[in-house]
Symmetry: C2
Subunit: 347 residues, 2 copies
């Protein structure tokens, strides 16, 4: 199948660029001497996770249980689930998965770990846990190193649980001191810290300065996107995934309408809605559900109805989650069509 | 199944409220004497489309061919596809569908209608077409009534096409004069205008003042959402669909984290991200992909880990499109679980 035979809107993945991104980040962490654990929430495709592991990753990261199930069913192993798991139905699934693969989960409070321990004992499972520390984005994670140590001690003595260390997000120069302090406190308390897990694509290049880190998680790096370009960690040439659209209307000379809107791109990120390739000067200034508004006033030559417009999305992770499949291309040939296997699995 | 047995995050639909919305809007248009043609892009569920038709709708509206295929396969008929259809693969599907059901499509330029006519002749089909007029949102549609008449004349003499009238979006007091002018111009030119199609949920209550309108399209009305409340056309009690979430983290006293983010709610609309029910004063001030940040500083009582939080989303149409199923509830009992059959069908 030729790339021109793909109907639009569709996600087109440049496999050469994708493979280069996988190799580049793996090499970076190999040089640092830090284990690399790619986050599959970006692509949600088992075969790409396999490529990442084959390139040298220590394992993979998932954000939701449904993602773990898809990846484990596809034969992936050594999985970090970076999320507080709450409620009986999920705890049952977590215990079942703990029998099936090498799985570690994060937690940030005894309320969560107590329920996890009780479920594990009941189901004869052992659940590996990392205590989660907040590092400056003020989301999940205990707010101080003292509380982290208390939580880790609590996990350590909870039947059914196996403390493996700590995790935080994101890691950067800013969080280095706090992590060093946490590592020291774990050692003083005699707590297991075989895994000290950090994360983030934009801050991956700072991972080396975070002492004590044993692992790093990154997701977006495999595809890159406009937000990564804006953060200075990618160029357009690094962006492996593009949204392929078609001009469907051109009612006045300065406006063209493409067949993708927020149900194709998502509404993440500031305007413009992604980077328009091939037509310099053209800019997506607005989107409705199925329409993208292209300002072509400063564009020469201007696109016409039927022309294909490739767009680098603002935030590739949420874009992929909107689609049923990804077309993997080598040059102009479609080499693979992958279902986005874990699409929509938010539970 | 009891509503408390639904794992989260999930979409919970109050069937009583939904049925009331369907009846209310149908009655409104019955009183106006204008045909009502609900837009299924909001729910994407054939059984709900059937409810709308059974309540008295003249037919349904779709935005993408994939939606038409799902609805036609489920036995729905009399479908308006409000979109310019461009490219050979889609034209083939359009012709096939034109044999299978009563289908009408919009178009805003001879470039589009010529290709459509050629495909129809080749496949022995007749495609019903409405000429599209721009009415103040500056998206698709020809910019003037004079151009609309030229386009309609062109459609009228194109083999394979059957001109049925005109369409525009949105219709309101503001667009009433332009539509009246277009209707008059069609009559003077002797052009068929059996369908004059307007649309919009917020402006539905103004449809009566738009003279010449034979049909009105509305989608969001079936569920309503925060944007409709902000526009003054719905109350919280009219919002039939809620996102059911769980508090999974509570790292500090003023912040709780729920298990839904932009992959559950979408990023449409301004902050806060929807309306939090049950906990007055609580507000979602930020979302990542799988996390919602809840400010509970002014909340009394405050939610705890494990508590369920119901949220009215900002824009319900894009929210539904993110989910695999909707739980239809009567009171606290789950009466139906519907797959979102046309989810993700952007082609």
């Amino acid at each position: 199948m030729h790339i021109d035979d793909i109907d639009t809107p569709a996600l087109v993945l440049d496999l050469d660029v994708c493979e280069r991104n996988i190799r580049k980040f793996q090499r970076l962490f190999d040089e640092y001497g830090i284990g690399f654990r790619p986050h599959i929430k970006t692509h949600k495709i088992p075969e790409l996770a396999r490529w990442q592991v084959d390139a040298g990753a220590v394992g993979i990261t998932c954000q939701k249980l449904g993602e773990v199930e898809v990846m484990a069913n596809a034969g992936l192993d050594n999985i970090l689930l970076y999320y507080n798991i709450v409620g009986e139905p999920k705890l049952e699934r977590l215990c079942r998965l703990s029998h099936e693969c090498d799985l570690t989960v994060t937690a940030d409070t005894p309320v969560v770990t107590d329920a996890m321990g009780a479920a594990a004992v009941k189901q004869g499972a052992v659940i590996n846990v990392l205590a989660e520390l907040n590092s400056f984005i003020d989301r999940t994670g205990v707010p101080s190193v003292a509380e982290l140590v208390n939580l880790a001690r609590h996990i350590d003595r909870t039947p059914g649980l196996n403390l493996r260390g700590m995790a935080t997000y994101p890691t950067s120069r800013q969080s280095a001191d706090r992590i060093a302090e946490a590592v020291q406190a774990f050692d003083q308390a005699g707590l297991n810290r075989e895994i000290v897990s950090g994360g983030g694509t934009p801050t991956a290049f700072e991972a080396e300065v975070v002492e004590g880190l044993t692992e790093h998680r990154a997701g977006t790096y495999i595809f890159m996107d406009r937000q990564c370009i804006d953060r200075g960690v990618a160029t357009e040439a690094d962006c492996a995934l593009q949204v392929l659209t078609t001009v469907v209307s051109n009612p006045v000379s300065h406006r063209a309408i493409i067949d993708g809107g927020t149900k194709t791109f998502s509404a993440d990120g500031d305007m413009p809605r992604g980077i328009v390739l091939d037509f310099p000067g053209a800019e997506i200034y607005q989107t409705n559900e199925e329409h993208g508004y292209l300002d072509i006033g400063n564009c020469d030559p201007k696109p016409s109805i039927g022309d294909r417009i490739r767009v680098i999305p603002n935030h590739v992770c949420v874009t992929v989650n909107l689609h049923n499949q990804v077309y993997g291309c080598r040059g102009n040939e479609v080499e693979r069509v992958w279902p986005v296997a874990a699409r929509g699995l938010v539970q």
